[in-house]
């Protein structure tokens, strides 16, 4: 039996396989170099990058929860100019790099793109309109369809590279936002970002996180994410990168079958640094065992009656 074809194309970007780390869970890749060969990834998605350096939120920033964790990092990053060097360093792996672009205003998103747009290693931008842990921008952008469409339209004019819009699950109807992003000119969507949550330390009688609230990730959110991927892939024609609680190949296959063209793995990297390459292998094994020649054959498969 032939080795299954794992290649996918998202927004014009060819990936050797459909698995990538989710932004914020993989730094700029360098921390995971001691653990595995980054060439085994479909793409590297780097930490949310803002125009200027961002210190992030005061600690505590983390709380473990049942089946997952809360974080309120607050977009700590070195800023686009310093990130540029780290992104250039990723060139050696010959893997497409997707830069997660974050900001508090349209001008700031644009500034990040302008600082990085000449880099050929940057295959696409993931526009983070869904960070729940910053006061201005972030999720504030991602919950109003008119704002989303306007932002995407503006950024569309700033670059020829593909724009992937990362959606927040913290909305009443995610398909409304998905359609707005598509109408604004998005090439692809990625979903979901974390779900807004909270944990309280009953001894201290205070929220654990200094930010009070944080973003919930991990296996606990997978059913919510999967449902939203299903809904969004019904609502729009552009491809979707599915994420939210994926911790192995079977989870990833569920997202592909729900309609995602590729998947991203977030918090599970913390527990198992090899989760991404193991997921690639697990998808390949599943395809082989079940007689599929290509991963594209299972995209949306669960929707076929």
């Amino acid at each position: 039996m032939l080795i299954p074809d794992l290649t996918v194309k998202i927004a014009g970007v060819s990936l050797a396989n459909p698995v990538m780390p989710a932004s914020g869970c993989f730094g700029y890749g360098e921390e995971y170099v001691p653990y595995f060969d980054l060439r085994r990834l479909g793409a590297v998605v780097v930490k949310g990058t803002t125009a200027e350096a961002c210190a992030g939120n005061p600690p505590p920033r983390l709380a473990e929860t049942t089946g997952g964790m809360l974080n309120a990092i607050g977009l700590q990053n070195p800023g686009a100019a310093a990130a540029r060097e780290k992104i250039i360093a990723l060139q050696q792996w010959s893997v497409p790099v997707i830069v997660n672009v974050s900001g508090h205003s349209a001008a700031q998103y644009r500034a990040v793109i302008e600082l990085l747009d000449d880099l050929t290693v940057v295959a696409a931008y993931e526009i983070n309109i869904s960070c729940p842990n910053v006061k201005a921008g972030g999720m504030a952008f991602g919950t109003d369809p008119l704002v989303v469409a306007a932002l995407v339209r503006e950024l569309r004019g700033a670059t020829k590279k593909p724009l992937i819009i990362k959606l927040s699950p913290n909305v009443t109807d995610v398909t409304v936002i998905a359609r707005a992003a598509a109408e604004g000119g998005a090439d692809a969507l990625s979903l979901i970002n974390t779900l807004l949550g909270m944990a309280i330390d009953v001894e201290r009688r205070r929220p654990i996180l200094a930010n009070l609230t944080g973003g919930l990730s991990g296996p606990a959110i997978k059913p919510v994410a999967l449902r939203m991927v299903w809904q969004v892939t019904e609502a729009v024609e552009i491809p979707v990168i599915g994420m939210g609680g994926i911790a192995g190949a079977r989870d990833a296959i569920e997202f592909l079958m729900a309609g995602a063209s590729a998947v991203a793995i977030g918090a599970a990297n913390f527990t198992n640094p090899l989760v991404c390459p193991e997921t690639v292998e697990g998808i390949s094994a599943y395809l082989k065992e079940n007689g599929f020649a290509s991963v594209k054959e299972i995209v949306g498969l669960a929707k076929k009656k």
Binding site: P34, F270, T271
Partner: protein, 253 residues
């Protein structure tokens, strides 16, 4: 050398109620003050790995000393000799070795865990070590005879006077830090670390503290475990920039 290890458990001992010493077969090239991220369950429940400081390391073994504080460490304590343990490490920076001949090491409670390997390292380097060990009571002065053997000067304090002086460990440490031109190392509860750092600052001693934090990745990627840098708006990561910091460098939290 890879940082992913599957090590066989040789021994799992209860050294005091609620405190375990876990001996593993194998070598991971660890320095004193580094830690490992232990996977306590093969499932994702509990979700995160548990950071455990390295109590001792040698060519053929790795020893962890830990408190069973919650579900994760209880699962770890239930593992038996013959089972294998999935761990990442060594992680973190470890204690820098001082040029000074005289060294004061201050331990509070389970904060003593990484200091055993430090004491061994300092002794091997020919340092003159004064070790000050504090705990709530005699039972929680874990492995006190083993620590005593490694120190040129040993003193202990308990809250209830059941061993050593009925005093705070920092009360015992104060005159030693004041009187010796020594480098100071400490690991323990935050109030203890703050006082040790204050004393070291008063007498102009170089001082290194090992901090604890809730971690997620443990490798520097997630930026979850940060502490604020003094005199700046910036943060440093406990997992890779620490867990050992120069006492004046960061706020302890």
């Amino acid at each position: 050398m890879s940082k992913m290890h599957m090590l066989e458990i040789i021994k799992q001992e209860t050294v005091a109620p609620g405190y375990q010493r876990l001996t593993l077969a194998g070598e991971i090239n660890a320095l004193a003050g580094q830690f490992v991220q232990v996977r306590v369950s093969a499932t994702y429940d509990p979700f995160l790995r548990r950071p455990i400081s390295i109590h001792d390391a040698a060519e053929d073994r790795l020893v962890l000393l830990y408190r069973t504080a919650g579900r994760g460490t209880a699962l770890l304590a239930a593992k038996k000799a013959g089972e294998t343990l999935d761990l990442l490490g060594p992680l973190g920076n470890g204690f820098p070795l001082t040029d000074q001949k005289q060294v004061v090491v201050v331990a509070g409670g389970i904060g003593a865990a990484p200091l055993y390997y430090l004491l061994r390292t300092l002794k091997k380097a020919g340092k003159q070590v004064s070790f000050v060990y504090g705990a709530r009571n005699k039972t929680e002065l874990l492995l006190r005879e083993e620590y005593r053997e490694l120190a040129a000067n040993y003193s202990e304090a308990t809250d209830d006077g059941s061993a050593g002086s009925r005093a705070l460990v920092t009360d015992l440490a104060a005159p030693i830090i004041a009187g010796l031109d020594a480098a100071v190392y400490a690991c323990g509860p935050l109030p203890m670390l703050r006082e040790v750092a204050r004393l070291a600052d008063c007498f102009d001693r170089s001082c290194f503290v090992s901090l604890e934090a809730q971690l997620a990745c443990g490798v520097g990627a997630c930026l979850g475990c940060v502490v604020p840098v003094k005199g700046s708006e910036k943060y440093r990561r406990v997992c890779v920039d620490g867990p050992v910091f120069a006492a004046g460098e960061v706020f302890f939290c």
